[in-house]
Amino acid sequence: MKRSTLIASAAVLLLTGAAQARDQIRIVGSSTVYPFTTAVAEQFGRSGGGKTPVVESTGTGGGFKLFCAGVGVAHPDLTNASRAIRKSEFDECAKNGVTEIVEIKVGIDGLTISQSKNGPAMKLSMEQVFLALAEEVPGADGKLVANPHKNWSDIDKALPNVKIEVLGPPPTSGTRDSFHELFMEPGAKQVKALADLQKSDAKAFERLWKSIRKDGAYVEAGENDNVIVQKLDANRNSVGIFGYSFLEENAAKIRGVAIDGVEPDFDAIASGKYKGARPLFIYAKKQHVGVVPGIDKFVAEFVSARAMSRDGYLARKGLVALPKAEADKVAAEATGLKILTAADVK
């Protein structure tokens, strides 16, 4: 008889366990913003603002999907994003009643190309990155051919004569999207032979910079950036693509490759001189403010000087701070919970 009571109690649990009112903030979204949001969440919980928020690492796209699914305690209150919200996502939100979204730009993430300290020092231009990694590049006669470059020196004699081997994120990663937008697109634009194509067939041009060669020169190393760092350490001739915080933490083993003559360091990224950088965002659901306690306080903690400024604890975790003027503007808008309008979304 015991067994049947157990089954019965399990069934009861199933039916009565439905979500009740929530007193804990729930955050979803990008794994790139995760290390920073968790630091703020912990600080928020420690300083007595309320229960420590739960931060899920679901990826930017997955985060928006959950965030935009509706209003109510069953849906998350904030989402992390390593890119701005897209029009389609904004519309999806509006369709499900999520009409009051607050966009907060929390800092900058430098995307770096890095290599082992023991390897031959490299300096690359965006054009060279494109020529090394695109699936098709213009051949001698200007026609597109399958990427023939085997060694870096095939692209430019000044580059070391070693095999092109780039360890980077898989297509599912937000970092990969950023890599295409920050490196491959400007790189493709620098290639003179492609100028005509860009004008005549924008779609084909976009396909070109959104491609990555599949002949083994680009190695998908998984979402875990630490794995790439370890592999770089073991193989001095390969280069890897990952966020600036990993470069900073592993400065003993790896160094950043200068892009268009600019080394990826804190100042160059913060000032915008280093081009391989992207803004990071969090999005808050204003309709949940007052329903789930502490959302406004959490946002205020995130944009406070002790978190987000140059000397703040987020900078020590590897987030590159926004320039002072912009940070002040962001902080003012965030604490005022300024709502994002359709006109703001591209």
Partner: protein, 572 residues
């Protein structure tokens, strides 16, 4: 079989002649084949053992340091004013107090010569942000201790902790002759009575010569490839370095790509910036009393160049001073087992994940043992054998091979979206994992029931027991060891799953230790995955530490399965 004649056994006789040469050859060939097979088996086994040993050694080597932590032991007095000037000393007031000034003053008392805000900040950043947590709890428990000096353990930050765990970072050797500094603060010049820095200067020159050599090679290679500018650039640098190396007595400027050299005298420390054979100029990191001649002085070197470590020379100077004065204590890292997750490596603990795992496994166990065993009994003993049961059987076997992420999708669709259960809860995790484990348990239970000899059931039926009595009183008890083994192996499988939990929100940063099956929580393998993805090197240690715990967990479960099988197994 075509060579066997059809005429009966008599015709086979010549082929059975085992003494013929052909037969001997055949026998030898058979033995050879068997020896080959055995050798292959041994090779396979030793390769497996090698891989396993490699994995274990690697994980344990990386993970063991996690079980110790370093703290400062200081006498700290928390005055009433620091908590509440009006005299409140209740838990809320103590917990809400800002103890930064108190710890700052205690640290300043332990390290001489810390002046100014930025030096204070450098010093206090050596402590963890949660350093005072233990002190606060002690004061909450015993408020009468407020205002009295307390010997307190203050947890160090992860960088400081990692510095103490790394070996051979700092070397120290007695200096020759008499050292005389010309000041006690700021930039000072230390003059020696004899060339005591000569060996170190030569080492710096040798390093320059080596770098010049490397640059020359690079220049040559670039020149061969036609990169003229690059070759020229490298050659110029190489020449400059070679010139420095050749000038035997010229002063050298030490930069952050070379090991840091320091002079220790009179309890103070000077970091050398320019070095000559018998003279050095540098900044005072730790003060000394007066600018006089010191006969007893030492050359200290931080072997890892500053550009390759996260911790600065000044911080190392403070830490070494604290260690030398006996203020640093290495102790067992109890926090690792008592606290939940944290974004600070030194504060992060495994407790939340362990409790979450326990809740999740409990839900899984309560659901899938009764359901799985009853389903197995019904299918094996009661269900008629027809098309429908065949179909069910095929499906159960198929389900056992379905990738686990599919069960996560199912959980998302049914438990979260349809039943509206809370996200990230062990309840949902347990339900999903129960679905995952059920086929395994049903298959194992059916095998166990099937292996009970039919004579037992027939005897029971023969003395008048009903079908149900025969099964539950006689067959099931005999099948329990097999069922238990299957269950434990199934649970061990569930214990290692992360993929299905991703979709129901259990891959999350959760600080609070879950108190119920509806609280947000995470599980051990998820915690390992989350930590492995963070940039701080200290989290890589945590990852390995958590893996060790996970392996211990699995080892215990599998050992239990073996013990149960040995103890209760009956052979017929």
């Amino acid at each position: 079989m075509t060579d066997i004649p059809a005429s009966g056994p008599a015709a086979l006789r010549p082929a059975l002649d085992v003494t013929s040469d052909a037969a001997k050859l055949r026998i030898r060939a058979r033995y050879r084949s068997e020896r080959r097979f055995r050798a292959l088996g041994i090779v396979a086994l030793s390769l497996t053992t090698l891989f396993l040993a490699f994995l274990l050694v690697d994980v344990i080597r990386k993970g063991l340091p996690v079980f110790t932590a370093h703290s400062l032991v200081l006498d700290v007095t928390v005055p009433q004013d620091a908590i509440d000037p009006s005299g409140r000393r209740d838990a809320a007031a103590i917990r809400g107090a800002d103890l930064y000034p108190v710890t700052r003053d205690a640290m300043k008392a332990a390290v001489p010569g810390v002046q100014g805000r930025s030096a204070e900040r450098t010093l206090t950043r050596l402590l963890s942000v949660g350093a005072t947590a233990d002190l606060v709890e002690r004061l909450v428990a015993e408020p009468q201790l407020i205002g009295t000096p307390l010997r307190t353990r203050l947890l160090l930050s992860d960088d400081a902790d990692m510095f103490f765990k790394a070996k051979h970072e700092v070397t120290s050797a007695p200096g020759r002759g008499v050292a005389t500094p010309d000041g006690v603060s700021g930039t000072v010049t230390v003059t020696l009575s004899e060339p005591g820095f000569a060996a170190r200067l030569a080492a710096v020159k040798a390093a320059h010569a080596a770098s010049a050599q490397v640059l020359r090679l690079e220049a040559e290679r670039s020149a061969r490839q036609g990169a003229v500018e690059r070759a020229k650039d490298a050659a110029t640098k190489a020449d400059a370095l070679a010139a420095k190396a050749a000038a035997k007595d010229a002063a050298e400027t030490l930069d952050d790509t070379l090991p840091s050299l320091l002079v220790a005298l009179g309890g103070g420390l000077v970091k050398i910036e320019t070095l000559e054979a018998s003279r050095a100029t540098g900044v005072v990191l730790l003060p000394f009393a007066e600018a006089k001649a010191y006969a007893d002085w030492r050359i200290v070197a931080f072997e890892r160049p500053a550009s390759e470590r996260k911790i600065t020379d000044q911080e190392i100077a403070y830490l070494e001073h604290l260690r030398a004065t006996g203020k640093v204590e290495a102790h067992f890292n109890t926090r690792f087992f008592t606290s939940g997750d944290s974004r600070e490596p030194e504060l992060a603990g495994i407790r939340g994940a362990l409790v979450g795992t326990a809740w999740t496994m409990l839900v899984t166990l309560l659901l899938c043992v009764p359901i799985g065993v009853l389903a197995a009994i019904h299918l094996e003993e009661f269900a008629p054998k027809n098309r429908i049961t065949d179909l069910i059987e095929v499906n159960i076997n198929n389900l056992a091979a379905v990738p686990s992420i599919v069960f996560g999708l199912l959980g998302l669709a049914i438990f979260l979206n349809f039943f509206d259960l809370p996200r990230s809860a062990p309840l949902v995790g347990g339900l999903v994992l129960a679905l995952l484990v059920l086929p395994t348990i049903i298959i194992a239970s059916r095998a166990a029931i099937k292996s009970v000899p039919p004579s037992i059931k027939e005897a029971a039926l023969g003395v008048g027991a009903s079908q149900q009595q025969a099964v539950f009183h006689h067959v099931l008890p005999a099948a329990v060891p097999g069922i238990m083994t299957g269950t434990i192996i199934g649970m061990a499988h569930a214990l290692g799953e992360t993929a299905p939990l991703l979709l129901i929100g259990m891959v999350a940063f959760i600080v609070d230790v879950p108190q119920a099956i509806t609280d947000a929580s995470t599980v051990l393998p998820v915690q390992i995955y989350l930590w492995s993805d963070l940039p701080e090197p200290a989290f890589q240690q945590k990852t390995a530490g958590a893996i060790i715990l996970m392996l211990v967990f699995l080892f215990v479960m599998n050992a239990a399965a073996i013990v149960i099988r040995r103890r209760f197994e009956r052979r017929w």
